[in-house]
């Protein structure tokens, strides 16, 4: 009983794994292998790498990234609310405003302590 219910998920899992693994295997099988020094170089977006790969990012990157994610998620919440705005009514409107206010406070805080200023 339970097995049959989860069968679909299992098949999906197998398919997903297969989807990722199949090209790799295929390349291994059919592609000709003629390595040259030029081909062996590390390629990153078509540019030659400079210095160490493991470099340290500025801490501020993370703060920016975090703020970005927060507002990204905010949008995710805003869409369904906006879509059913009429049926949800005033209460949901107030709640969403509270939610936005909280995020705004966060932004104001980040601004005020100078987290947004690139130093």
């Amino acid at each position: 009983m339970i097995l049959s219910r989860y069968l679909f998920i299992g098949m999906l899992l197998l398919f997903a794994i297969g989807f990722a693994v199949a090209p790799l295997v295929l390349i291994r099988i059919i592609a000709p292998r003629r390595p040259t020094p030029h081909k062996g170089q590390t390629v990153e977006c078509g540019l030659e790498t400079q210095g160490e790969t493991w470099i340290r990012f500025r801490l501020q990157y993370y703060i920016f990234a975090l703020l970005f994610v927060v507002f990204d998620v905010e949008t995710v919440f805003l869409y369904p609310w906006a879509a059913s705005y009429v049926s949800l009514g005033w209460y949901a409107f107030v709640e969403m405003m509270v939610f936005l206010a909280m995020l705004t406070v966060g932004l104001v805080y980040a601004w005020a302590i100078g987290a947004l200023k690139w130093q």
């Binding site: 009983m1 369904p80 059913s84 049926s87 949901a92 406070v105 104001v108 805080y109 005020a112 302590i113």
Partner: protein
């Protein structure tokens, strides 16, 4: 297919908001303090001025919240029918009962004392953040106490803990503080993950996240096919216990305790040891009794002993380990940290007592009594630790030498608190221990001697604990005054000490004054709100009669309005 229950209104009523007003006020006040700092005071005033104003603002806010919470307790403020436990409050996610109303007063009371203590010194540049986080951790704490549902519980718990992680690391220029915060964060995240994983197992087994519904589903699962997974139940129980074990600092989840207690700014340590422990134990009692009550003993579903046995062992080990480890400490804060592990052990005896006692509500009252009085005693002792750390610049017990002669009042108060922690009658600590142990012996049905071994271990542990507490007493009264003694006591410390000592003596001489309301709170704490909307017949044990249909998660979890256009909140 059972009919979809109709929920009349998904929106909380005004009285529900009113009930939450202390929490809302604190959440708002945290924002206010933070904004006051970053927008007005920072970069304009000296750090000390800033600290003073922010501290005062915070104190006002906390006192206002305390006033609101006390006001809610006032007879007639909330209609009694509203305060009954059977009400659907915030759709059954939050307990709207006498226990919540009373315990939030205690929690906010702790907050007031901690804020008072924090105002005494300027130990961080992040003043606004510090007070805001104190408020928000208090919000998490109180919601955790009131939570009736796993998700609310978990979110509240994380609100509290994450705030405390940051608070731990806020001491400016202290490497130990940062180290402690990191340790706390890593251990704590792992424990939270385990806890959440355990909750998800429970959800998987029962199809609901409400404590009461989980409890009912587990009772029903004895008869319903497929739900009582064998090892899954045992694993779920262990995971949940691990999560709580970390929060309450019981062995073997205690490793963070000494470092965090030592490294964190002393007022924050006081807050962890009083407030966080208070809330965690209450949440633990609720989850274990309301949701996982069936698993208190092995009914053949667990593949492991029930939580009564597991917690008994944890209690015995925690007490013994904590006390023995404290024996060797020269550092006052570390000693208190280990002693706090030992006290977690005593409290776990109380939790076990709730599981076995024939008088569960009274046993709960006893544990709550111990939590309140222990919290106060801890606040007092950590106030002294804070004084040592900030005004003397040391954490050693030796630095308290001769305090009894130079500063008689604080030393005397500290002595009372330490005696109470040993469990000397007629102080509150003694009654707390005594009442919990008595309830542990009060098991119905099996001759009352089943847990005697645990109580014997606990009592012998109290004797061991006397040894290290007396070392502090010895430093206070038997040593020649050292250089530290010249430092005066700031009024924040004195106030905390005096309040704690007076409460310790007062509630010791007249324990009934505190026990009666807390016993009443125990009743409502162990009573879960019945889903008023489900309309199913409920028998006197609170077990839903229609046992043949397992609860559909969609019905309990998400209130669905009948109109197709309405969406879930």
């Amino acid at each position: 297919m059972p009919t979809v229950p109709v929920i009349p209104s998904v929106w909380p009523s005004s009285s529900e908001w009113f009930f939450l007003s202390p929490v809302l006020l604190m959440a708002f006040w945290g924002v206010l303090v933070l904004m006051l700092d970053v927008l007005v005071l920072r970069n304009r005033t000296l750090l000390s001025t800033r600290a003073k104003w922010l501290g005062l603002t915070s104190l006002v806010g906390a006192l206002a919240a305390l006033g609101l919470a006390v006001g809610l307790l006032w007879p007639g403020v909330l209609a009694t029918d509203v305060l009954s436990a059977n009400e659907e409050f915030f759709n059954g996610t939050i307990a709207f009962d006498a226990a919540s109303a009373l315990l939030q007063v205690v929690g906010i009371g702790f907050l007031v004392l901690v804020i008072g203590l924090s105002m005494t010194w300027v130990f961080t540049n992040e003043q606004g953040e510090y007070y805001a986080l104190l408020f928000w951790s208090a919000v998490g704490m109180i919601l955790m106490i009131e939570a009736e549902e796993f998700m609310t519980l978990f979110v509240a718990l994380e609100t509290m803990t994450i705030s405390i992680y940051i608070l731990t690391g806020l001491e400016t220029g202290s490497k130990r503080s940062s180290e402690a915060a990191l340790k706390y964060l890593i251990y704590g995240s792992a424990a939270s993950a385990l806890f959440l994983f355990g909750l998800s197992w429970v959800y998987g087994l029962t199809g609901t996240t409400r404590l009461a519904a989980v409890g009912r589903a587990l009772v029903e699962s004895r008869t319903v096919e497929g739900i009582g997974g064998q090892w899954t139940s045992g694993l779920a129980l262990l995971l949940v216990l691990a999560g709580f074990g970390f929060k309450v600092a019981s062995v073997p989840f205690h490793q963070w305790t000494p470092d965090v207690y030592e490294g964190a700014p002393a007022p924050v340590t006081a807050w962890i040891a009083s407030g966080s422990k208070f809330a965690s134990f209450i949440a633990m009692i609720k989850v274990l009794m309301l949701a996982l009550g069936t698993w208190s003993v092995d009914t053949g579903h667990l593949q492991s002993p029930g939580w009564v046995v597991i917690l008994s062992i944890l209690a015995a080990v925690s007490m013994t380990y904590g006390n023995l480890a404290a024996l060797g400490q020269q550092n006052f804060k570390r000693m208190l940290a280990y002693s706090s592990i030992a006290h977690s052990g005593y409290l776990l005896v109380g939790v076990v007592a709730i599981g076995v006692s024939s008088q569960r509500t009274e046993a709960t009252g006893a544990v709550l009594y111990y939590l309140c009085t222990y919290g106060l005693a801890t606040l007092g002792t950590f106030a002294v630790a804070a004084w040592l750390a900030h005004d003397v610049g040391s954490d050693q017990i030796d630095d308290l030498n001769g305090l009894g002669f130079r500063r008689p009042v604080p030393a005397f108060c500290l002595a009372i608190l330490l005696l109470s922690l040993i469990g000397v009658p007629p102080l509150a600590g003694f009654f707390g221990k005594m009442l919990m142990f008595m309830e542990a012996l009060n098991a119905g049905g099996n001759g009352g001697i089943a847990l005697t071994w645990l109580v014997v271990v606990a009592l012998l542990n109290s004797v061991v604990s006397a040894f290290y507490y007396v070392r502090v007493l010895k430093a206070l009264y038997l040593r020649q005054p050292g250089p530290a003694i010249g430092k005066s006591f700031p009024s924040g410390v004195i106030w905390t000490l005096v309040i704690a000592a007076v409460a310790t003596v007062g509630f010791g001489l007249n324990p009934t004054a505190l026990l009666d309301p807390l016993g009443g709170a125990g009743i409502s704490l162990l009573t879960s709100p019945e889903p008023a909307s489900s309309g199913r017949p409920v028998d006197s044990n609170g077990i839903t009669q229609s046992a043949t249909v397992p609860e559909n998660p969609a019905q309990t979890q998400v209130p669905v309005a009948p109109a197709p256009s309405a969406s879930a909140r």
